[in-house]
Symmetry: D2
Subunit: 311 residues, 4 copies
């Protein structure tokens, strides 16, 4: 297969401080569809145009952040192979049973050098996007409910040892480094954008002293007009915006960063490059991240919150 191995972000489990406030935000403001709740009280949601049962799981607890981020792999054979590759590489893995997440098969979980819990899985019930399987329409009212992203797109995670993460994701999991930032006066990579497809990123990392931190979870919109509409809807709903609307120089995406009611940062973005594995990774210096527009093309500065506010 041309697209094989790890294929895409499959789900993120977010910790929220008030589950009903979180549901109101993710369902009614962001516009995800609630697809289920489990015995432990977790709430499952999906973006309207995703096919799988869920991509966002909300868990109420007293500390915001991310429990784990899962990737869908091509099939169960691939899952077994990657599990074995991880072990051979020296990464301890754990199997979670089918059904531990609703409508989801067995998952292989492991901790990466930034301290995050990452999962691989091959099976999740396909529930479709609500359009007919034969002669589907090109538009659905669901595409206008709330901010209405098309899909969960990626996450940006903060933690130590991003070098170890780079090695693991590229050598074992088959990701490509698409862009990176070197630390001030250094050749050391302090931020990484990694792709398992021809998206600009399926996951990204920034070096940070505390492990296992979430910078943001990102959702894809269709157009720059939809980014403005997202800003309008955030404003009507008192969602606190961090940065944007603007363009990132890194990936060239048109973006808004904002915070959910628990303080988890999320992104609604559009566009960006579509790199391939053989393209050289784009190098950003630390100044390039800030003054060079890597973070914010319009304002060309390193917003203070970018490095300091994580959950």
């Amino acid at each position: 297969m041309a697209l094989t191995g790890v294929t895409r972000p499959g789900h993120i489990q977010l910790r929220v401080l008030d589950i009903e406030a979180a549901v109101r935000f993710y369902r009614d403001v962001l516009g995800l569809t609630e697809t289920g709740r489990d015995a432990s009280g977790r709430v499952y949601l999906k973006a309207w145009d995703e096919r799988d049962h869920h991509s966002v799981i909300l868990r109420q607890t007293d500390r915001a952040g991310m429990d784990f981020f899962g990737f869908k792999v091509l099939n169960e054979v691939t899952l077994n192979q990657l599990e074995s590759d991880l072990k051979a590489y020296g990464v301890a893995t754990e199997r979670l049973p089918a059904g531990e997440l609703l409508e989801t098969g067995e998952r292989v979980r492991f901790q990466i050098p930034t301290g995050h819990q990452i999962e691989l899985f091959a099976t999740k019930k396909m529930v479709g996007n609500g359009l007919a399987p034969v002669n589907p329409k090109a538009w659905s009212p669901a595409s206008d409910r709330g901010i209405a992203p098309v899909r969960l797109d990626h996450a940006l995670l903060y933690g130590p040892d991003v070098g170890g993460v780079l090695k693991l994701f590229t050598e074992v999991l088959g990701f490509t480094l698409t862009e990176y930032v070197t630390l001030p006066d250094s050749d050391e990579k302090g931020a990484l954008w990694l792709s398992c497809s021809n998206k600009a990123h399926d996951i990204a990392f920034v070096v940070h002293p505390e492990p296992a931190k979430l910078h943001h979870v990102s959702f894809l919109l269709d157009s720059w007009d939809k980014v403005l509409r997202a800003a309008d809807i955030m404003s009507v709903n008192d969602i606190r915006v961090d940065i944007g609307p603007t363009r990132h120089g890194i990936t060239r995406g048109g973006t808004i960063y904002a915070w959910d009611p628990s303080g988890n940062r999320f992104e609604t973005f559009m566009g960006g490059t579509a790199p391939y594995p053989d393209w050289p990774a784009i190098h950003w210096t630390w100044e390039g991240l800030g003054e060079g527009g890597g973070l914010d093309v319009a304002h060309r500065k390193l917003h203070e919150t970018f490095l300091t506010v994580v959950t």
Copy 2:
């Protein structure tokens, strides 16, 4: 690697009736960059944001159409493997020497059941997109020169035995069937959209009595606003438009079909779905292609030219 095997459309060689008129169109109106001419008089061009030396080759002759369509594979090992897989499958292959196309390595060429010449290659000189390799800007004057597509995106080819093509592309070349049309009162697939990535299509086919025909070569734009700008620029330059601006139901892309000065149809389009290999292929009936908006969401009809005008 997650994206492996055949990675992307690499080039198309188009037959044109008047090379200088063709260059004026592809370079000055469409806005491709001329990157070279070879001893046989062929002209090489690339879209501004492509990294490889060229994606379009123009050859003057007395009959319009397509000579061949080439895919870039991950590396030379992959090229050898796919060549061997093709042979094992019973497809005769030919090696073209490095340099036969400017700045391009060896190519493996073969004929597919629709009569088209398809090539695989692993090596082409990377010339970049004109932006700096370190801290690149997010915008370039090149992105406004002419219609200014981002990349060669795909082609739609017409010929007999698309069933044989489906088998070859999915079983040997690792493509995924993303959408298809069944013939009237039949389960037989008469049109195929095939992807080697998470693009909606990297190549597509429609059944047709004559072999080796080109329906259109397609170029990607950033936005629906750019599709309108493309229409404006076509109008100023007396480019004959076939269909659009409109949306295809199939792939959901926003599109214009038009003809180059030799009568080869090209498409400038934006957006569309981003399917994955495990998504079920979307089924369109013959009525769905026409009245169902598969071809033209706005007009919901099977434009007569769609089935009859090819080169």
Copy 3:
């Protein structure tokens, strides 16, 4: 006052063949808001961002078309003055009593040389756009309900003696000629675009043997993205499209022409020029209307329906 006299299109009364089918279209598909029904069964609607009580009135009868088109003038003094000016010019006028249309003051009605009934009025209840009068939000769910035009924008009317109409609208009613088309091999104006503001047109006319015909009533959208969304929603709702999405050369608006369930043509469009009274009117030849892209920039042809299908 800088904007004085006749200020804007105020309402159109459309004849429809099935009032409930018409309401379903204008309210649920086009996305107007129903604001009332009167004793005679007429249904009143407004676009979401209009302030006045209504802009579209639907009346069921056995023949589609337009009963009358009304302009709002600055105030009652202006109404009296224009009534007197019309009489002085030789136009017979009729006063319709306040309340004959819901929430509307007295109207001055007269027939123009194309046979259409035109009205002036100064008073209509302001019901607002649903946003708060103090610190309004920038977005409302109403702006996403159906195609959701911002306002009734203009109408294009067909009838004989457009020369007489030009004289009446510019000499008595204070309109400016912004663009016009001359008939084949003639200096005679066969089509007129007229503005009472700095819009590209508030009303337009095309010469036609039959009097009092409606070519289309037009509704303004915010963006070209919304025009595509309009096409998507029309497609989902089986609305028959005539022309577009495309751009008119005349006015430069981005447009779709389509038909309501009774066969009345309507337009959903965006953008266009903003001319001033001192700008020279733009001259289009008959060829310019067709091959010159006056009607359709992308296709540069005079669609057959443009001259033949009216109600």
Copy 4:
């Protein structure tokens, strides 16, 4: 005439610190067209789609800011009438001779209660927009040169006694108050948006202790996509951005505020409402200007620079 009296912003004379740096910015980055230079060294420019000879005049001196802002009135009769009305109202007026500005007729200049010099004029040479007067194309390369605004749209001026300005503009000059902000814990209007057309504003004022200050001069773009492109081009050209891209709640325009090389703030914006003289003015409280999104819908705060940085 329906649009009569004062019809539109005609020109602004800006003081710049380095005339050649200013020309490079206004011509090459903003994308205005240079149309002349006069004996005193002033440089004249116009937006591509404007018809008049110029709308921006640059004058080199040692202090940035605005010398004067001029409105085009309908004709010389109107000019005389408004001059006489101003005098009757008690405003001292001065006649500047024809030709004092290139290609411009006599101007009536007066000082308003905020200390600004305002001018009225009826005559300026029409040079057109470069498109043919007969069957013009819908697109011009000029529309892509630099940021490429369509027109000078308005200015926001700071000074004392905005109440006096409101009275003068509405009672003598025929403007309509479209939106206003009241001062904290007060009914006093501290900011005004005034229109002489159905634009959201042709001029605006904010109360400020120092007289005759320029907050920004504003240029209109076609679309929100063009606002992002403006941000991209500003970034490439090291233009310092103040606020945006974002939407103003006031007027609903999509905007960027940035500074020219002399420190004069300019705006590139799109969209917004199209109010009429009979619409009630929208009331914003001081909190509405900030937290209510009046200035910045996305960030809902009163940026510190908004009240403090003027030239």
